[in-house]
Subunit: 166 residues, 2 copies
DNA sequence: CTACATGCAAAGGGTTTGCACGACA
DNA sequence: TGTCGTGCAAACCCTTTGCATGTAG
């Protein structure tokens, strides 16, 4: 599952380049957090990244790891699984449906699409396990956010997102 | 966004039926939590369900709402957005890829599928906003969990899931 | 040099749990 | 009447933040 060495280098330079071009100082801590996430084969949590980096930078603290990871997310250099900073949300809709997620405000909206309901399980998945449910997630900017004043973020009336923007 | 009255009734009876057939008493609190989640048009968090139910059952407590919602999830009667009980996980893989999520242990595994990379944006989505990224999530049981002894759950070596399995 | 980043520790906030009381079968 | 469910409050745990110190550019 680990990426090739080549791929790691490529990601790493993308990360460091992205940070530098944003005027963010490339400290040893940030560099090593970047290296760790660039070479991760799965989807580590902050604690896991912390443990990895600490082997090379024993003095790093967990909150610096968090800060660096969120900086990378904010710059669009890495992603999170699920919606960032989201508390648990429940979905009572058992009919097949899919989700549109606004990456700015976090609002998740259902939509239906017959074509997506009947996606066949690709070969790559059969060795992983048995599929019971398939859902398509489309991420982008919702209409409301697109219209909203360029700068800061806004919150939907339904009250999402503690908001970590910038 | 609210479901039709008809649809609500249908969901509600599915929920209550599922609980009863599992030998779970249908108290007024549980009934009203079921009603609330059945009639929700979006994806409420526990707090939001709590506020709704409290209008009808003023004495209900937040933790009863949580307990009931998780009971429904455990019975497969409702879902959560994202992986239940999951802390924030970061994904350094910026190349297009998709996820297989094991609903038992929570493990999220990447897979590639060219067909999924090029899914076109359906009409239903255009009025919602602009799509920047599309990801398919397939949920099911991973090979390891399928093989594991029927009863209790196990945790992957990578250390997922606090584990709430009935 | 000077602004920015780090580490520490404490606060914060959502979620879960232990326990005694209350309610339904 | 016994068992199961509820409410309360405290515990938990991940995550964030304020502040003094350290450091990259």
């Amino acid at each position: 599952m680990r990426p090739e060495q080549d791929e790691i280098e490529q990601r790493l330079s993308r990360f460091t380049g992205g940070l530098k071009s944003a005027g963010i100082k490339l400290t040893i801590q940030r560099l090593e957090v970047c290296r760790e996430i660039a070479s991760a084969g799965s989807h580590p949590d902050a604690e896991s990244v912390f443990r990895g980096v600490r082997q090379r930078v024993p003095t790093i603290s967990l909150d610096t790891v968090y800060r660096t990871l969120w900086t990378l997310v904010d710059r669009g250099l890495i992603d999170t699984l699920g919606v960032p900073h989201e508390r648990t949300r429940f979905d009572g809709n058992t009919a097949p449906h899919h989700h549109f997620v606004c990456t700015r405000c976090g609002e998740t909206t259902d939509f239906c699409c017959d074509a997506f309901d009947s996606l066949s399980v690709p070969e790559a998945v059969t060795p992983l396990g048995t599929v019971q449910k398939t859902q398509v997630e489309m991420r982008g900017i919702c209409l409301r956010c697109a219209k909203a004043p360029a700068s800061g973020d806004h919150q939907h009336a339904t009250g999402h997102r503690p908001g970590r923007n910038q």
